[in-house]
Symmetry: C2
Subunit: 218 residues, 2 copies
DNA sequence: ATCAATTTTTAGACTAATCTAAATTTTAAT
DNA sequence: ATTAAAATTTAGATTAGTCTAAAAATTGAT
């Protein structure tokens, strides 16, 4: 159907549309794709020819219905494979992304529907991100960043915003994991660092940490 | 490491080397790869530059140690994925090849070693072909073609030479499966067709069938 | 040994995806 | 409203992998 490169661009545009609701800029897309603006312009033209995006010169790019559906399907595959790697093949949550980047491009309807069934139709990937179902619907969880909580409040850790190896390994090292309860004991107004309670212990975390952890408040 | 195309060429050369021990011809490779002889010449030059094959103009091509090791690794991945698809994802043995052609190119050592473990270190793929281990060693089974059996002899079906959907579905339709015992009741010398006993019933098969079924004699 | 058929290689062209450098358009500050 | 900076697009080149058509080498039949 579509090439690996095309699928990766669609995914990137999909993710950037949250921050660029009026149209994803060429530079933002170049940054996300680790490529040059001129390459983006070329590709965006091709995507436009294929009716995957709406594009007008100098005005940024938006996904069409077809483009969005395709992006969501790729994201579905990515996240299902991540679950498979963690649940069945003993991968840690910081090891799955690179492999899933490859597996997400395998073309086979039966493969993905059977994988979904095999995994028990999971709703979340190992990083807490929602997995679209076969129709492309996904649950948007009501989660907020830990950094938005006030002193005295608490909630359950349900996802990560940054899913880089470095961040995930930091969380592992400090026994922060999805499903755990975190309470805010103190908040330093100068640098937004926090003292939290976790696993019965107190832990000091910087704002870089608290602004990349999703919490569900009860 | 190597591109998808390069890996596919290496695999094709590996398989053709049985029939062309003195060097795989350009035309044979073109036929196997469904491409043109001129494209093969181009690619073979590139493979040669990368030390994957030994090539001299007009003299055919042979795998180097590196080329052979790479080919075997791709074959290992292909066959492990086929087992996964059949054993875990409810694929029929005639449905796996196309998907395995894609999956065999995923790059991740951990993925394949964990998959191997997850599947219980299988020795054979769903078509009876041997699966190389992590070091590239594979068991060469002592199997012969059904067509080589004489009247009165019998053996167990252990593999297929042709693993096309068409042939595999013919076998399914006639309840011929790996592990079953087949005895030769009659052999027609004119067209080499056979009357065999299978599942307690008699069945007439053409030489096209008997020359594509591997048998292990006891 | 010659020569025609077959096989293989070369030459030149094409596409997808990328790059650098230059040109153009937009933006936002004065 | 000008104009400098920033963003974007265009022009031209490159690489992998493919193709067609033509040239060259090999093979095999007489
Ligand atoms: Mn991921
Ligand atoms: Mn990808
Ligand atoms: Mn196969
Ligand atoms: Mn392949």
């Amino acid at each position: 159907m579509f090439s690996l490169s095309e699928e990766n661009y669609l995914k990137a545009i999909f993710h950037l549309e949250r921050s660029f609701p009026t149209g994803v800029s060429t530079n933002a897309l170049a940054e996300e794709m680790n490529t040059k603006a001129s390459s983006v312009t070329d590709m965006v033209k091709r995507l436009s020819e294929k009716k995957l995006v709406n594009y007008k010169k100098y005005q940024g790019v938006k996904l069409s219905k077809l483009g969005r559906d395709t992006a969501v399907e790729v994201i579905r595959k990515h996240r299902l494979w991540e679950v498979f790697l963690v649940e069945k093949l003993n991968f840690a949550w910081d090891e799955v992304h690179e492999v899933a980047e490859q597996l997400e491009h395998i073309k086979s309807e039966k493969l993905i529907s059977e994988l979904d069934k095999f995994l028990g139709f999971p709703k979340k990937d190992p990083h807490g991100d929602p997995i679209p179902d076969a129709k492309g619907n996904m649950v948007i969880a009501n989660k907020i960043l830990l950094s938005e909580l006030q002193v005295g409040e608490s909630g359950i850790c349900v996802g990560v915003k940054d899913s880089s190896t470095e961040f995930l390994q930091y969380l592992d090292k400090n026994d922060i994991a999805l499903g755990k309860t975190i309470s805010i004991l103190e908040k330093e107004s100068f640098d937004q660092s926090m003292l939290i309670k976790l696993n019965g212990k107190e832990l000091k975390i910087s704002s870089l940490i608290s602004s990349n952890l999703y919490i569900k408040t009860s």
